[in-house]
């Protein structure tokens, strides 16, 4: 693996794990004993399914197990990708501070694409009103202070595709 992953130990999945990923990436069966049902399909016990899922959770292969809501159905109509041009000397400390704000759901450093794209810090916010976005953008700007030289907010206006990860067979 490339050096960019050096902070994490890469989790190696065996073929059984991969079959389990394929069997569950679209969702869990809504039955009282879902692990047993998945195990039946894959030729293993429910106990083994649980053990492998627990292992993948511990290794970070699974972030979490639960419900994935549709933002729009919950009334979050203003989904803003806020992007910031932050002094490289301070971006890591400030990125961590922005990521720690309770309303920021994702926060990353990404490369600039000059001259078209001067922004290196990306933070997502999800709001029910436009005014709320403006308030939150103001709060992020307050954290960044003088280290920030420019910003934009890109609103999503249409979902063109949303399937999530799909491992091929």
């Amino acid at each position: 693996m490339p050096e960019t992953h050096s902070r994490d130990t890469l989790a190696v999945l065996d073929e059984v794990d991969r079959r389990l990923v394929r069997a569950t990436q679209g969702g869990l069966p809504l039955v009282p004993r879902p692990w047993d049902l998945i195990g039946e399909e894959l030729g293993m016990t429910g106990e083994e399914v649980r053990g492998r899922l627990r292992g993948m959770l511990e290794r970070g292969v699974i972030r979490r197990i639960g419900a994935v809501p549709n933002h729009y159905a919950l009334g979050y109509r203003f989904n803003g990708m806020t992007v910031w041009d932050v002094d490289d000397r301070h971006v890591d400390a400030l990125g961590a501070a922005v990521g720690a704000l309770p309303f920021v759901t994702h926060c990353y450093r990404r490369p600039r694409r000059l001259p078209d794209w001067p922004y290196n810090l990306f933070a997502m916010v999800h709001c029910k009103t436009r005014a709320e976005v403006d308030t939150l953008v103001g709060a992020i700007a307050g954290v960044l202070g003088d280290a920030c030289r420019g910003r934009e907010v890109l609103f999503s206006t249409r979902i063109l595709k949303k399937t999530g990860l799909r491992l091929n067979d």
């Binding site: 490339p2 869990l28 639960g66 109509r77 609103f155």
Partner: protein, 157 residues
């Protein structure tokens, strides 16, 4: 997969408890719905029925494990295109046709199409970028993440 409403949906108090309480931490016990229902003050069968209804109504897009492809040796890369308005629908179709495109959003900016590529290997990302450039005739702006400061996509209902 249920419908995908774009307007807010009416939810009762128990639905809200489920959405707010179950965006993670689903137990790996023998009867996980029974255990999760107990914590939410519901019966097992009621939780299962309500999850099914929330999926059918498109309030939830999925119920299950959220996988991190990077921890499996793969890669996620955010990328963008600047698409002429007259070509927007054609280009959206060409981009969406690639299985590596996990999400794609229109955003209001000169870079007006933003998508996430997910591939099982880093080389797969390069192939997907090349395929999109060949199909659309446009240059892909790739924004691989250099640092992840925070990710926790949880929304309150």
């Amino acid at each position: 997969m249920g419908r995908r409403p774009v307007e807010p949906v009416d939810l009762d108090e128990a639905d809200r408890r489920i959405i707010n309480g179950l965006q993670g931490g689903f137990p790996l016990s023998e009867r996980p719905y029974a255990e999760a229902a107990g914590a939410l003050g519901l019966e097992e069968s009621e939780l299962i029925d309500r999850l099914q209804a929330l999926l059918d109504r498109g309030v939830l897009t999925r119920f299950g494990p959220m996988y991190q492809i990077e921890r499996m040796g793969g890669a996620f890369v955010l990328a963008a295109l600047s698409v002429p308005e007259a070509d927007y629908e054609r280009v959206a179709g060409q981009v969406n046709a690639l299985p590596e495109v996990a999400h794609n959003y229109r955003r209001e900016h000169a870079l007006n199409m933003w998508f996430v590529l997910a591939a099982e290997t880093p080389a797969g990302i390069g192939r997907a970028v090349a395929a999109i450039e060949a199909a659309t005739g446009l240059s892909v702006f790739a924004f691989p993440k250099e640092r992840e400061y925070f990710v926790e996509m949880k929304l309150r209902a």
